[in-house]
Symmetry: D2
Subunit: 501 residues, 4 copies
Amino acid sequence: MATSFNLLVQFVTKPIQFTDQKQEFNKRTSNTGHRSLPHSISQSSTDSYGSVCSDSSEDGSSPRDKPRRTSKGLSDFCIKNIKQAEFGRREIIIAQQEMPALMILRKGAGGEKPLAGAQVVGCTHITAQTAVLIETLSVLGAQCRWAACNIFSTQNAVAAALAEGGTPVFAWRGESEDDFWWCIDRCVGAETWQPNMIMDDGGDLTHWIHKKHPSLFKNIKGIVEESVTGIYRLYQMSKAGRLCVPAINVNDSVTKQKFDNLYCCKESILDGLKRTTDIMFGGKQVVVCGYGEVGKGCCAALKALGAVVYVTEVDPICALQACMDGFRVNKLSEVARQVDMVVTCTGNKSVVRREHLDRMKDGCILCNMGHSSTEIDLVSLRTAELRWERMRPQVDHVIWPDGKRIVLLAEGRLLNLSCSTVPSFVLSITATTQALALIELYSAPEGRYKQDVYLLPKKMDEYVASLHLPTFDAHLSEVTDEQAKYLGISKHGPFKPNDYR
Amino acid sequence: MATSFNLLVQFVTKPIQFTDQKQEFNKRTSNTGHRSLPHSISQSSTDSYGSVCSDSSEDGSSPRDKPRRTSKGLSDFCIKNIKQAEFGRREIIIAQQEMPALMILRKGAGGEKPLAGAQVVGCTHITAQTAVLIETLSVLGAQCRWAACNIFSTQNAVAAALAEGGTPVFAWRGESEDDFWWCIDRCVGAETWQPNMIMDDGGDLTHWIHKKHPSLFKNIKGIVEESVTGIYRLYQMSKAGRLCVPAINVNDSVTKQKFDNLYCCKESILDGLKRTTDIMFGGKQVVVCGYGEVGKGCCAALKALGAVVYVTEVDPICALQACMDGFRVNKLSEVARQVDMVVTCTGNKSVVRREHLDRMKDGCILCNMGHSSTEIDLVSLRTAELRWERMRPQVDHVIWPDGKRIVLLAEGRLLNLSCSTVPSFVLSITATTQALALIELYSAPEGRYKQDVYLLPKKMDEYVASLHLPTFDAHLSEVTDEQAKYLGISKHGPFKPNDYR
Amino acid sequence: MATSFNLLVQFVTKPIQFTDQKQEFNKRTSNTGHRSLPHSISQSSTDSYGSVCSDSSEDGSSPRDKPRRTSKGLSDFCIKNIKQAEFGRREIIIAQQEMPALMILRKGAGGEKPLAGAQVVGCTHITAQTAVLIETLSVLGAQCRWAACNIFSTQNAVAAALAEGGTPVFAWRGESEDDFWWCIDRCVGAETWQPNMIMDDGGDLTHWIHKKHPSLFKNIKGIVEESVTGIYRLYQMSKAGRLCVPAINVNDSVTKQKFDNLYCCKESILDGLKRTTDIMFGGKQVVVCGYGEVGKGCCAALKALGAVVYVTEVDPICALQACMDGFRVNKLSEVARQVDMVVTCTGNKSVVRREHLDRMKDGCILCNMGHSSTEIDLVSLRTAELRWERMRPQVDHVIWPDGKRIVLLAEGRLLNLSCSTVPSFVLSITATTQALALIELYSAPEGRYKQDVYLLPKKMDEYVASLHLPTFDAHLSEVTDEQAKYLGISKHGPFKPNDYR
Amino acid sequence: MATSFNLLVQFVTKPIQFTDQKQEFNKRTSNTGHRSLPHSISQSSTDSYGSVCSDSSEDGSSPRDKPRRTSKGLSDFCIKNIKQAEFGRREIIIAQQEMPALMILRKGAGGEKPLAGAQVVGCTHITAQTAVLIETLSVLGAQCRWAACNIFSTQNAVAAALAEGGTPVFAWRGESEDDFWWCIDRCVGAETWQPNMIMDDGGDLTHWIHKKHPSLFKNIKGIVEESVTGIYRLYQMSKAGRLCVPAINVNDSVTKQKFDNLYCCKESILDGLKRTTDIMFGGKQVVVCGYGEVGKGCCAALKALGAVVYVTEVDPICALQACMDGFRVNKLSEVARQVDMVVTCTGNKSVVRREHLDRMKDGCILCNMGHSSTEIDLVSLRTAELRWERMRPQVDHVIWPDGKRIVLLAEGRLLNLSCSTVPSFVLSITATTQALALIELYSAPEGRYKQDVYLLPKKMDEYVASLHLPTFDAHLSEVTDEQAKYLGISKHGPFKPNDYR
């Protein structure tokens, strides 16, 4: 039931599995005509930048074939079109406005450069938000080289702006799998440069170094990883005794868990539905499948705009919360006939099945906010008697023999990544955690971290949160000596136990 | 403080004033190189259909020069590109889903054709929603000919679909003023056809017939007009004794007054802000200038999504409502420094002035939901020391000498028309009122209506509302005989006095 | 669908009909052993003051029999128990905190006494809130004499405090009808005092003077009336040509119409239900009958606390509003089986009938927020097979033969008057309007007002509102000269047309 | 930051500390003229039952002196007044309506008696809600004997109803400490009866048996404890190796942690404020100190009714949540001047200090929803220059030399226990958990539980939740085999990890 970045990652990192036992790698990557990558990513959250980052006028030639130079003559990068740099810079400037903590970190550095000497190799989505992160690391003293963790999600204009700004970046939208690994390899292996820090999102970069350049780990002080998949891989390595540097798990930070799912989805569910369908929310009946954090966010937003919201749940505890929060809880088969919209938020598979789809009424809108595209049983919709009609981008009408139309959004992929934007501010919380984790690992005295996977200390979680308070002109109260004693805590935090959620 | 259609109209109808005393018409229209029409309209609510109705690939030649034919060989129309008909038909189908009352009217007609024999000449926006209205009139028996009331608002693909469907339509986006009148004239004066009903939006059509084809009024049974401007013109004519047929004022219907402003704005404020800025609403400080119906809708939506909302008001009664609804009321000059967004909803002019703009903080977003582009004093921003930078379509950064950026949306024009969509469902309420008004005037026994301006009877307002209830699966209770007697009303309505709001 | 004061009045003034054609008055009043007054009033909103104003320890003797004196030796009053003055004063102090406008009027007077010379005879409820009003009039220079307009609603402790404070007051809870008229007569006819202003609530005082002391009207400059019933009587008199002084209709002021119903009910519905039943709102299914202002207030509050709210309506326009505000609209007979609570807000009669009651489930709570006790058909519950059990004060279980229990609150009378308090702040708006109306009539130059019924000028409505803004630390914006011209209004208001609602 | 029952317990169990090292017990209890028990309890949540359970007419004599009999001749009990049984039964019936799970358990038992043979000695609050629990245990086969865990909280009428119903109960409101232990001892040591199960709330009963009747533990199969204090004591005993039977910790169940604090406070904050002050919420400025679960509940309710809410926090993570939920976060010293109400929810001490109180404005209302009465520094208000005036029960005005009045509720004790009711439904969740824990311990095969403190298994938490769903007519979805496999869980739960919150 997670969302945003790390989910985007899940899509892609899963298919690009490193099948090193079965075939020799270099051969494999170049000849995959039909890759198993889901097409879902190609219309991800970057859609919303269409007008700015539109690639429609570009030719189909590979960036690898054409050397390019920045206005200052730099050529150590590979992106689609350096001429888009100006557009991309504007998007970065817009993102900066909503990523205050990173901007504070930049200023806070002052003369000090906590990352002086750091040589960071990174592999994340290349978006305006990560550009703010990357350039923050640079301001703090790091030398960065960056690749994309996703073959579809790169905002070409942003990549251009990064390159123009002096960051060696190797990424474009629509890489082939061969391109994907080529870009990573170009990041890792510069002649005059050796990475001493890794920032990864999905674990592909870490895996590649492990496989292809294991000797680099001698110089590497640590890994910062923020995706579910990457963390899983790290724990596997750790268990197998093959993790040879410390790593920080950003994914399970309280600031990520408690903010990302709830607030991102609350902000984006309305946006995604409006951009695709222009639907009026007031009075519309909606069923939200699942009342975890994602479902709670969606329900809150839909109810706030006047929709009548029903919930389905399998867990009686979450169901009771839904009830007491004012939502009727029922089975999908019971409410399918009456609702105008169906939103899946379960983290489960085949939650909406043909038996439900057959009951839905003409015009019912169907979308997925949960996790991968498994929540809706699309296979049951790809049958001969049902006709698909593409009405708008990301909007298909699936037409029953009697003329009934089901409005399917983003072909069942994640609505918030495909059809809306994710608020930069929420991404800022995770990006700041990544930056602080990097600084911590880089500057920690020897011996503080072993060859294991760590959570960022609670106190730094609190620091991340505190860096975002000025945006809201929020002022914390201070704990007095007497109060600290009464509560049995330090005046300066941490204020809650580690497992407090 | 009104919104939607009729506001769109205000923009355009005001500049296209019929200056018949001063110059001969035919000469005037063709040589206006620099028309005084505000550019605002060119990026109206149709922006959201960009991908479908995009005209980017079209040449700049005038449709008037190139005869076209539908697939069935019809040629009595003039639009941009008949090949877009399929796209446009999809948009009409989408709109139909949210315009249930008109679809019920079509079915309700059954074999009966209440408009059989009606020859309706119309002049409205040409959008998917009006297409549903026009085609409903046709299903009910009318023969329609249609022109656009706005030179910028026509959705070319929808116009193509209408033409392909058999409606003689004369409209395209980006008409010149000469085109504008030419199109109207082509509607009015067909050789084999004489209008007997007028459906107008802004009064230009009515005016044109009055001036150029006054003899037609002998056959015309009535006028349906839905804009503030058009109504004003009709009352002027009536006062001057020059109104020679009955007219129905749709604009002041309770269903229009009580639903349009509040619900349209509540639905579209979030949408407009998201599409342009991707801003996170949670915790953001917003000042909404004006707490009329538009302001009430904006405040409710913003608060619902977690914004901290301030209100400015000049009227102590509205201010007290804002207070009791939970909003702090303050002067703009007091809150300008702290807010993240400024939304104008006043119906007034120069509400946001340079003195306020100078106080706003870096990144403050500024937009207008009120009426025309006068609410923000743009002149004060067009000065030498301020630099404008177009960041995205409809998004300008106005940059102060010290680097402060104010984010101006839609150049101060109406956000909901420029950067979001207006929900079809709300437009359906007005469109249904128009259709019923037309039927009423066409089928009324002689003598029921004199040469005057009428409101639709309250009972028909209630009928319009009742036609929209099935969308919500809503079931009315019935008044018993005993209750009707107790209340002193008829069992079948009207249930409230005429002036009840 | 009105509430609060004027409704309280409706109860009482209707039964005390002045049947002057049929019988001689003096005979009638003294021998009505069983008056037709509904017992509803005896447990009105004053219940909440039980601990303070409790009369339980008092004997049953009539105050008329026992002369009493204040601590200062005054004896020109007749109340229950002067010893309660201290308790009553505390309640008045509490009310003052929430009636800021009257306190501002007191201060604003400064040395000036706009009511100097005014001799006001009043007949209203005697509560802490009216005490604040009466004492404000005194501070402004008036000499007041006061009676109760309701035989059950007098807060004895407050009456004692008024008397102790020097106001001749003649009122106690539980007056007989004879007492009622005796008290009014004592107010009107003091030997050394002649009224020149009337403040009435229900019209009984006005009627009495008209009948018994018509000569007094020579001195009387005007009447201020705030109830529906009293206004009706005044218009009848006016129509009959028997109104011999000007009167101001406070009831139809915008400040009363737009604030009283909505905000009072929103505040008191939860309170009334909690005090009687301790019910948890979260997730409870509630049907609210009627979606006028009262229903809108109730629905908003119940939804806000997590209830699932259904609406019944007869008027399709209100029904459509309910839908678009997010409430399912259905017939009571359809939802009766599933709901946990039924709240009537219709202004109609027999809305909840035995056929509905028979369907309700065990434990269903039933209450009335609408108008008089007619909304629930109580007669159908007073049958042999149903057993009534008084569970708590104001709470009856009506028990079906099969054991099913319906929880009836306040025997179907108004819940907000019987089982909750009405916020002083909202009453303050009306009380301030009364005070200003009195000042206006008293100080108006001769000829401004004829022998007719007037609304308070819109500008004074706005002034009343503005006096309540400091409570919220609200600051109005000012209209510039340019804006005033643009809008065609005065800079200082009124800002809206008279009929704007 | 916990609330409800267990907090009530904290008050009382702390003072009644078992000082066995220092003095011989029997001597100590009888001669404490002035006990250190806070008076807070005497006006706890039972206040709302005033009219029903009022003891005002009762004499002051001790129930211990006067033998009483039920209508059936039973005499094995000791309560205040058996004549109140009928009143008490009504309150129990009312509570039953909102405690559905226990009623289902009763029915579910059918012929089966899971507690047949159980002899349960209990020590809890004696309220309508616990009466429903106790009588449920009886229906399930248990023989119960019961004492009060709190000398002030007993509802005498409920105790009478229990006795009349056949439960030996020993409890009355206003016990002396000697009475308190005498009652417990009478429960434990009946001649013909030996307990084999303990249900405790605060640990006093457990402690007493341990000290005075340790041999009883041979027969005892387990302890169910639901308070923070009692759990603390059990863990201490366990650590010291002195716990000789298994115990179940009900306090830390997810159903208690996630529901009690949030929903109880959300429901009761408005109620407590209304009953004491009749304040209007709309537009009032309130500062809520602390944004944990209690603060979140209070903020949500206050905002929902139209208050303008500020938050103070020391923890940046909670502060950031408050911001993104739409609340301004500031220091108390900054907002003290402007707010109309101050609500403490911190779990901390001296949060509101004299320095803040001096800044508050006239009429500011001050109350505590957090934990014990330490949150407001009352000592600083008990000074010579400040005058206290009791305005109503639970309402004091503290008056500054300049006349400024601060409205202090419940003398700084918990508002929801002192001035409002706690919804039976939420208490039902905990009571059901207690009943299931008792059944589990009583019927567990030997060896399942050791002499240790256990949490109820997650699966039983889910069962408790599921028993409360029928109240809301909620229907759970079922997990398919395929889904269970995909998620890696059992089809029948548990559905989440143990530490999921």
